[in-house]
Structures are given as structure tokens and as C-alpha cells.
């Protein structure tokens, strides 16, 4: 195990937090539980693959992505129906305000100027399209992507996070944060290494 002490040079730089690397997801889960039990709230885990149960332990709330998606879907459905009603009928069912404002009434196949039946495919497609946009771009936004820099890359073994190491970080933003105290706590949890990570 590599021990870390507080080099004088590091103290000059902003500290991001204390990182500990573990060799298995099991050890990471145990360590995360212990750290949370000690009362830390700003704890982050970096792993090569999703680990079941880590969200609960770290107290990460359920994602709001679903709400973003349903709002986008509803906008898509409304937009499609309004557009069809406006262009098709000239006396739109849904937007009376636009009556006579450059609509294109055109009788096709003897069908009514506006009917729900042929409007559903377009409504469906636009709902799905905007929902998909909401899902992808909403996910980017909630994850803070694109992000070109993250302090965790200052961790010496950062490249192994995408390979075979499981890293837990207690961030400096935590109200209970104390560098020596956190280092000691993490070292007790059977890590491969514990290190200070600068901002």
C-alpha cells in the first residue's frame, strides 16, 4: 500500500478531494457504505462499469430524465397536431387564432380538411423524435456533458478507472471534509492506494 502524506507543494494548489482505488466492486461497495456511514455526503465513485446498488449507497436520487422526455414528447404531439390542423383546414380546430392566416386547405381523396386518423402517424413520429432528442440531450445536460476537463484525471491511476480499478472520492466540497481525517478513513478500508487529487 502506498502511503500518502501532505507534500508542501500540494497545499498551495486547490484540492479536489481524497481518492482511494479498490481492486473489486465488492470492496468499493463496502468502502462507500463505511464512508457514507461516517457522515460524508459529497462522495463520488468512478468505475469501469455500472455497479448495482452504488446509487443507493451514495444517496444519488433517481434521474429526472423521464420528466424531460415526457415534456418533450407532449410538445411534439401538440406541435404536430397544431401544424396539421393549421395547414390542412384553414379553420383550425385547435388554433382559431390563425383562421385565414395563410393556411392551405386542400381536399385529398374526399377526406375532411382535418381528421385525426391521418394525423396520428405524423403526431406519433414527432412525439418520438422530440422524446428521443429530450432523452439524448437531456442526458447530456444532466451529466454536464460535454466536459473537457475533470479533476479525477489528476489521479495517478485515472486511466485504470476504465479498466480494472474502482475509485472512491471524498470531495473537498463536503462540509465534514478534512484531508488527514479522510485519508486515514480511506486507508482503513483496504484500498490499493489513497491519494490527494488536485482541482
Amino acid at each position: 500500500m502506498e502511503n500518502s502524506s501532505l507534500p508542501a507543494a500540494l497545499e498551495q494548489k486547490e484540492l479536489h478531494g481524497i481518492a482511494a482505488a479498490f481492486e473489486s466492486p465488492d470492496k468499493l461497495l463496502k468502502a462507500a457504505k463505511a464512508v457514507r456511514k461516517s457522515g460524508f455526503t459529497k462522495v463520488e465513485a468512478y468505475t469501469p462499469f455500472p455497479i448495482h446498488g452504488i446509487d443507493d449507497i451514495l444517496g444519488i436520487p433517481h434521474s429526472h430524465l423521464g420528466r424531460i422526455v415526457i415534456c418533450c414528447g407532449a410538445i411534439g404531439a401538440t406541435a404536430a397536431l397544431s401544424l396539421i390542423a393549421w395547414t390542412g383546414s384553414g379553420d383550425p380546430l385547435l388554433l382559431p387564432y390563425w383562421t385565414g392566416l395563410g393556411a392551405y386547405p386542400l381536399v385529398v381523396g374526399g377526406k375532411p380538411l382535418f381528421a385525426f386518423e391521418p394525423s396520428i402517424p405524423i403526431t406519433f413520429e414527432l412525439t418520438v423524435l422530440l422524446s428521443a432528442f429530450g432523452a439524448v440531450f437531456g442526458m447530456f445536460a444532466l451529466n454536464g456533458l460535454p466536459q473537457l476537463y475533470h479533476p479525477i484525471f489528476n489521479f495517478r491511476h485515472a486511466n485504470r478507472i476504465t479498466d480494472d480499478q474502482f475509485v472512491l472520492v471524498i470531495e473537498k466540497a463536503d462540509p465534514k471534509f478534512d484531508a488527514t481525517e479522510c485519508t486515514r478513513l480511506l486507508q482503513e478500508l483496504d484500498p490499493v492506494s489513497v491519494e490527494m487529487v488536485e482541482e
Partner: protein, 402 residues
């Protein structure tokens, strides 16, 4: 291999308790007796009505077993891990399908009461029916019915015996054998269910046709099968059986499937409706015009809201899928609406003025349902409630929805 910290290794029993089993068997046997006695009385009183009501009940329950057949094959082909702990329930419902060979007999016996094309003197004066008589004639109809059940039974029994043999041998070769059967099996089952739907339901109105009809019917069957398995699992859970092995995560996934199939059913139903609405040809629109007469139009509206809009907005919510009470309510509602869907497909061909409920509707359904249930319950006791030899069992027990 990941060690899951959440895995609980204290195992519950995967066998049915003898006293619970006997009590339930007696209840089912009693209902069966009641159902068939009612059917006999109904047949004497009004044979026309008996055959119609029986057809709806027969289709409803047979499609549930066929839905399970479809899902088990899909589970093997996709190698799904989440479903392993519920798979034995699916398999046991699926393997009741040979019973259809017997249960179809009243439909075949009532051919002249149900299908106008079965009267040769009527067909002789009808150019269209004459043209269709190579397919729609009583002999071919009967032969095809048995061929369908034979195809379903061979595949279902093959898969079931593979799965139960694996309980003991724990060998992956059974799994491989099932996967090999499943790919052509899926194709065969889909085609045969589709033509069975043409034979048994679409030909009630022999001038009308729709190529998507088989998928429409099977989509409802698949939905009803997931709802049935959900209800069975929740019932077992209430009696302390499989309460740990089938946990909230598996119910969440069953809920997702109910949601997905609700959407799929609506997609197919709308595809059929929109093309017919757009073309507006008399020989095609007759299907819908019959169902927009009198009180049938309320049933049509009920299907739009009860089979799609309401379950869609209900089941789309994560908290509903993870709330077992709400999930049970959704499953029971879906079973009801799937029955109403089949009723709506069959009955407007006869009750032309509007809905005419009859006590035989309930009794005939009870007879078929209790017979399938009896076979299911009988088979369920013979083997472990969970495919304990499956290589993905541990993974399934530790399954978590992210």
C-alpha cells in the same frame, strides 16, 4: 465474476406446499365442474349462444398460453437473464397448450352455428365465398385446427422437457437445444397463430379480410399472457411462495412488458384502422361499421381508452410498475380488456343491434379458464417453481433495474 453485495443466499423453498396445493386444486376442480355443467345447460337452452360465448372464452385462454409460448422462445433466443426466476411460470402456462386439442372440439362441433361459409348451399350462391372455399371449407378447417395445436404442442413440450431436465443435469446443452428449437419455432408459431386467427375469428365475417389481423390478435394474447403471469406471481407471493426469488425488480420488468405490449397492440390496431379508413372501400369498412352500431360504439371507445390511453399513462410511471398493488390492478384490468377485445371481435357478427350480454359468456369462459388452470396447477407441482439448473439463475436473482 462480480460478487453482488445485495445477493441474499438464504434460499426459500421452490416447491409448492402440499396443503396449499390441494386446497387450490379443489377450488379449481369445483369451478371446472360448475363451468362445464353450466355449459351443458346453456347448450341445451341456446346452442347458438353457447358456441359464440364458448368461442370467446376459448380464444381468450388459448391466446394466453400461446403468448407464453412466444415469450419463452424469445427469452431463450435473446438469452435474457432477468426472466429466469419467472420463466417456470411462463413455461407451465405454455405447456397447457396440448389441452387446446380437446378444448377446440366445441368450436369445431359448432362450425355450422358459427361460420356461414360452412353451409355449402349458402356458398354456392356467393361468388366470393366460392372463390375462398379452397381454404374455407369444413374439412380443411378441422384438419388445420389440429395441425395448429400439434405444432404448438410439439414445440411447447420440447421446450418444457428441456427446461425441467436442466433442473437436474444443470447442463447447458438443454438450453442450446431450446434455442435451436426457438428460432424456427417462433416463425412457425407466428404463422400458425396468424392463420388460426384468420380461421377462428376473421372468417366469422368471411367477406372481410385484413392481413394484419393475426398480429392484432396475437398482440392481445401476448399482453394477456404477461398480465396472467403477473397475477399468478403476485398470488403466489401473497401466500409466501417465491416472495424472494421474484422480487420488485422482476415485477418492474413485467410491468415494462405490459406497457410495451399495450403500445404494440395500439400500434397494430391503429395500423389496421387507418388503412381501412383511408381507402374507404365498402368491403373493408364493413368490419368497423358493424362495430360502430348501437352500443357497440361505446365498446369501441372503451377499447381505445381502456386498452391504450389509460394503461399507457398509468403504466408509463416508474412508481406504478414498482408498486405491487398498482401493478396487480393494472394486470387485472388488462386481462379484462383483452377479453372485451375478443368479445368485440366475435360478437358484433351476431348481435348486430348492440351488445347483448348473456350468462353463458361468463360460464363458458369459466369452463375453459378453469380447465387450463387445472392443467397449469397440476403441472406446477411436478417440478421446481424456478428453473434451478439455469446458468443465469444467480444473475437473475441479483437483477436490478438501474
Amino acid at each position: 465474476m462480480i460478487e453482488y453485495a445485495t445477493l441474499d443466499h438464504s434460499r426459500e423453498s421452490w416447491r409448492l406446499d402440499e396443503t396449499v396445493w390441494t386446497r387450490v386444486r379443489n377450488v379449481i376442480a369445483f369451478l371446472m365442474l360448475l363451468g362445464w355443467a353450466g355449459c351443458a345447460a346453456g347448450y341445451v337452452q341456446d346452442s347458438d349462444r353457447f358456441f359464440r360465448s364458448y368461442l370467446v372464452g376459448f380464444l381468450d385462454m388459448t391466446l394466453i398460453a400461446l403468448g407464453c409460448l412466444f415469450f419463452v422462445m424469445v427469452m431463450y433466443l435473446t438469452g435474457s437473464a432477468w426472466s429466469v426466476t419467472v420463466r417456470r411460470i411462463f413455461e407451465t402456462v405454455m405447456v397447457t397448450i396440448p389441452l387446446a386439442a380437446v378444448l377446440v372440439l366445441p368450436v369445431l362441433g359448432g362450425i355450422h352455428n358459427l361460420y356461414e361459409w360452412s353451409h355449402s348451399e349458402h356458398v354456392a350462391h356467393d361468388k366470393i365465398l366460392l372463390g375462398k372455399s379452397a381454404w374455407l371449407n369444413p374439412e380443411a378447417f378441422v384438419i388445420r385446427a389440429f395441425v395448429y395445436v400439434l405444432i404448438w404442442s410439439v414445440i411447447a413440450i420440447r421446450i418444457y422437457t428441456n427446461s425441467t431436465a436442466q433442473d437436474k443435469t444443470k447442463s447447458v446443452k438443454h438450453m442450446d437445444s431450446t434455442s435451436t428449437w426457438s428460432a424456427p419455432g417462433l416463425l412457425l408459431v407466428f404463422l400458425s397463430v396468424s392463420t388460426a386467427a384468420f380461421d377462428w375469428i376473421m372468417s366469422l365475417n368471411p367477406h372481410w379480410y385484413s392481413t394484419i389481423f393475426g398480429i392484432y390478435v396475437y398482440a392481445g394474447g401476448g399482453l394477456a399472457c404477461i398480465a396472467t403471469v403477473t397475477v399468478i406471481c403476485l398470488w403466489l407471493r401473497r401466500h409466501g411462495i417465491l416472495a424472494q426469488s421474484i422480487n420488485l425488480e422482476h415485477y418492474h420488468d413485467l410491468g415494462k412488458w405490459m406497457f410495451a405490449l399495450t403500445v404494440f397492440w395500439a400500434y397494430i390496431a391503429f395500423s389496421q384502422y387507418m388503412l381501412i379508413w383511408y381507402a374507404n372501400l365498402a368491403e373493408e369498412t364493413v368490419f368497423y361499421s358493424k362495430r360502430l352500431v348501437g352500443s357497440w360504439k361505446f365498446v369501441s371507445g372503451l377499447l381505445l381508452f381502456g386498452h391504450f390511453i389509460v394503461p399507457f399513462f398509468f403504466l408509463i410511471q416508474r412508481r406504478v410498475k414498482r408498486n405491487l398493488g398498482a401493478l396487480l390492478a393494472a394486470a387485472l384490468w388488462i386481462l379484462t380488456i383483452c377479453y372485451i377485445d375478443l368479445y368485440w371481435l366475435v360478437m358484433p357478427n351476431f348481435d348486430k343491434e348492440g351488445v347483448r350480454l348473456h350468462w353463458l359468456d361468463a360460464v363458458a369462459w369459466l369452463a375453459v379458464a378453469s380447465t387450463y388452470a387445472f392443467a397449469f396447477w397440476w403441472q406446477l407441482k411436478k417440478h421446481s417453481l424456478v428453473p434451478e439448473g439455469d446458468a443465469r439463475l444467480e444473475q437473475s436473482l441479483a437483477h436490478v433495474n438501474v
